[in-house]
């Protein structure tokens, strides 16, 4: 049976001299604490600290990178336990193991091998033959105290972990964590899409709940804005340092108060057209920037995904089933109104993300290389991968430099992929820096300083952590 190898030099350049440089740089960052300022893990894990159920529950079911690939090759989601509580988790795991070759060349393979090898000390490649042994080994480990959520959090030196919640969330898990004797920092981030996007499922109902929660009349423009301010303050009191905005496009506008009131009347009255909805989202980015200037929350904009593209699958299984597909995204005209208003503010930080890599060198690096308020988020989602991160550095650095970027985001729902992903990011950044050094475009002392900045200092500073 083939061995599971996790080579010390993985992801480093192939040229021997350059590889040596990369090794030296990586030594500077390999054991630095993890700053995870953006992600989607479940805060209940750390509040309750209950053991994870089994290998399938922990590693397969929350990871849409895994089940989308299996689905693309004809494996029904039900066989994997998605939307099917009757499915045998051992059989689901076998399905993954017997199709593990599908992940060759993908980052999922790198992350998963890291987890199998580093967390569970498995020595053999995952295959149909080794499936049951791996499954049992993992399950046995999970029953031990050292594999509970808080212990794993500490073991992998996570200095801070941010989750993402709706304004309607009570943040009870974050309160539980804060009130516990555990010192782990699990923060929240303000993600207002459910009460900002008129096309979000249940938007009208969400406005009612926001009114109840805050005591402000969210059917009136001023009340609605006050409710946001109140919830933002509540989130900040629970550790939030950032907001997050997942709009279809990065469009912004800067309406007069009268225009905004009239638009909101249509939105809150349930009469918003598609164009109204887009206009309202656009205005709300400007409103959120204005609030950030007051309360200091760092603003993240994550645009460009066509959500729930597979409509029959969405009807059966709901959101987040691997059918969100990137679209072309235009930033230059879209962000101009917001930037004309607030782009020159030195006390505002707006972090831009993209799923459209063509924007890196054409739009995002030139914008971030000019506006004081802008920073560039790391390679995101499909591009959180060795080639994706390399392209990001190659296409962004020459125009925006390193210091207009903000380090790495893992952005994951799969808890154990956090240390795996940060390790990949650190290795890829060291490989990139090593090439610059080997080509005499950068001195090695500068590269060593940069490696630490990219892995640790820049995200702490950008996210005010």
């Amino acid at each position: 049976m083939p061995a599971l190898n996790l080579h010390d030099d993985r992801l480093f350049p192939v040229d021997a001299a350059t590889r040596s440089i990369a090794r030296r740089l990586y030594e500077e960052v390999a054991t630095l604490p993890i700053i995870s300022p953006h992600g989607h893990t479940d805060p209940a894990w750390f509040a309750d600290d209950e053991p994870f159920g089994n290998a399938t529950e922990l590693l397969l079911k929350p990871d849409h990178y895994l089940f989308r690939m299996l689905y693309s090759q004809g494996i029904p989601l039900e066989h994997l336990g998605i939307g099917n509580p009757e499915a045998d988790p051992r059989e689901a795991w076998r399905m993954l193991a017997s199709h593990y070759h599908l992940f060759r060349g993908t980052p999922s393979r790198l992350w998963f091998d890291w987890v199998l090898s580093q967390v569970f000390e498995l020595k053999q490649r995952l295959t149909a033959e080794t499936s049951d042994f791996a499954y049992d080994t993992i399950n046995e480990a999970l029953a031990q105290p050292g594999f509970r959520p808080r212990a794993l959090f500490d073991r992998y030196r996570i200095e801070v972990l941010t989750t993402t919640e709706s304004p309607l969330d009570t943040l009870e898990h974050h309160r539980t964590i804060a009130g516990s004797d555990w010192s782990g920092r699990v923060l929240t981030a303000y993600r207002p899409d459910p009460v900002v996007d008129p096309e979000f499922e249940g938007f009208q109902h969400n406005l009612d709940r926001l009114s109840e929660l805050t005591g402000h009349d969210c059917r009136k423009w001023e009340g609605y804005l006050s409710a946001h301010r109140k919830r933002r303050a509540f989130f900040a009191a629970h550790g939030a340092t950032s907001s997050d905005h997942g709009h279809p496009t990065p469009r912004t506008v800067d309406l007069s108060i009268n225009e905004a009131e009239a638009l909101f009347a249509r939105v809150a009255g349930g009469q918003a057209s598609g164009a109204d909805a887009e206009l309202f989202r656009a205005q709300m980015l400007t409103e959120m920037a204005r609030m950030s200037l007051d309360d200091g929350l760092v603003m993240q904009i994550h645009p460009g995904s066509f959500r729930n593209h597979n409509t029959p699958l969405f009807s059966r299984f709901g959101r987040d089933k691997g059918a969100d597909i990137p679209m072309q995204t235009e930033y230059v005209r879209a962000l101009q109104p917001l930037l004309a208003r607030y782009g020159n503010e030195r006390d505002l930080t707006i972090i831009l993300f993209t799923l459209d890599e063509t924007a890196y060198s054409r739009e995002l690096a030139p914008l971030a290389g000019h506006y004081p308020a802008l920073r560039l988020g790391p390679a995101w989602w499909f591009h959180d991968s060795p080639e994706g991160m390399r392209r990001y550095r190659e296409q962004v650095t020459e125009t925006a430099g390193f210091y207009n970027t903000v380090g790495f985001n893992d952005d994951t729902r799969a808890f154990l992929s956090i240390p795996a992903r940060h390790d990949v990011a650190r290795r890829v950044d060291c490989a990139f820096l090593a090439k610059l050094v080997a080509q005499h475009r950068l001195e090695e002392d500068e590269a060593a300083e940069l490696a630490v900045d990219l892995a640790y200092n820049l995200p702490k500073k950008a996210y005010k952590l």
Copy 2:
């Protein structure tokens, strides 16, 4: 005079250790049979098995990659014998030879050198000085039996070769081949653009011919669909396993029967607007997918070319003169109606191509990495080149994996470029895999398996060959 060198290590990585891995991988695939599931060679060559006329007829005139480059540098097409039967083929060849430096750094140079060296055993670089010797050497060879079409087909281990025909084609050459004592597999593919695209030259006349051929009334929607079904069955009976669709865009719609009938009435009545034509092509992709579910033909979509961009040249010389230019192509919204209807079908295969490389990582890999019905075609046309194929693998693999791709297409009209192109593709894929191995992102045993899958197994399976 400079030698013509075809180095054994061409196209492999420059790093010595990585190059060794590439060599070992290439050994696994160098002599595998060629699967050529998509192309535009002339089936009459293999039906009649007549000798090729001369070097210019065989190598220059069918190859618009060659004459477009010469034309771009001011050489009139007439001097090359295009649209000018009076042109001296030896002089045309001299024109190519004396401008051969224009092809430095292009895939045409790689392919052409391969043909000169491997097929005709020439030892000197093509230049003005060596032009006549090369011309005479090639012509002498072509007069020998071993250089007739069938002999060359066999010599280069072509296991199957697919040509592309209109529904109006009688497939007589394919019948002749099938009825001969030669065992070569030359299949057809169903390319219905002339009877599906209302803007195709002679569309109305083509509808009449389709009616005559099938006995169905192609001025009525139901008769028109029945005619397609009948011709598809006829093509399948002559070996076709696929259809091919060269639309300007990949737009699809899923109209009701009443809407489709009304639209077709305008189309068949010659009153279709530009918007109607686009809508009709969009509906026909959905209709073709529906028929594929019945008859099993694999569907290929080749969108995004602005055909005959050089209108004065088109007026003088006609189609396919090197003036088809790629355009930006949007897939996510365009394919959504078709995918919502049939994208989850496990018995349907739709192979997507692009001339817009930005779609690889943004749209195509995410779509193919999710929908069971989708596969990605290889780097196409201008991108069938070492850098183009490298970018394809780098941008596609991390999201779609290798197993949602379908191996290589040569897509050529230039017969002898087929083995040359497959050799380039195999070398570039081995180079890509070798890098993954050298960076410890993949084990060498897996890379060896993948090399064979990419060169042989995947195209056979995807195209049902």
Copy 3:
């Protein structure tokens, strides 16, 4: 204090064997004269030959690459002396020096280090600590005769330098230079945007001035065209071999005379809508091509920049403050009318540029690889960088070849960056060629010839210099 190293092998490939090839190729071009056919230096420098004032005046204030990056990290432009004549230039220089780490990984760092090391023989990296020493050293040098503009021009073997002027310019500095005893060739280029773009500041006033200058009535279509012809002839008489067009888009049209007259009546009457302005610019590209066929000026098209994106900054500081941001740019449909009319002309040269790298392989290389009138300009502006130039060669060469490109443009306002930039371009091209040789895609004798062609022969030929 860290040394300032300018390694002999900088920018060459990391692999030792490939690096040796690059070194040999670079030896062929390292000391070739500089052809600078497009840029924005001030001709008054060479007319008056006055000493440059100080390090800040010479190196920081004309270089928006530098001050935009500093601005993006919160440094007010006033502190750098921009729009603030009171600023202490030594303090501005200190601001640059103490933030010099921001330029790690950028081309500005490469260029600036070259100037510090090669021109001013500084031995230490620029930092807060070395700031004053560098400032004083540079200022002392600038007071010497060998550092006056003409002496530097000669010292760096500039064979020809082209500046860019409006049709309203008197070209007095060029006349002064031509009438002097200095042999340096400083040419002009015809940049008609101020009298062609109805949305340019002062357009109506500019039409009046053009009438005065030429004696033609520029409120009438025929008079306006005659005025252009007259000024083009005047520019050609002062050495111009090219025109330059900085439109928002590359759109072209080919209107009838009646349509053009009616359009111009609206434009000259001040009643042009936004659509009229775009249509007029589109028609003027076709008119300029027509004039080029008569007078032989090479046409350069530089589209795709959103000028003055930061409106509050523009209000305070004016144009060219680092806030011009690239946009998506479509060429295939946009250029079709012009190319249908003049694209097949062998006596016309149109050089296309882009800020949208996605157009390289998709649109520009296929167009330039077909139309006799088209050539591709080099990687431009944000892409005039090691990674940008590499991507350009990788994405353009396979389809357009090398001989449809025109060598390097420095396009700079920062005089001493000219030799620095040409050196980077030569190194990057040699690195690219070396890789092709090492991979046996090109023979070394051909690469050596190409290195000289790219550095010297192609720009001379394309720009008729």
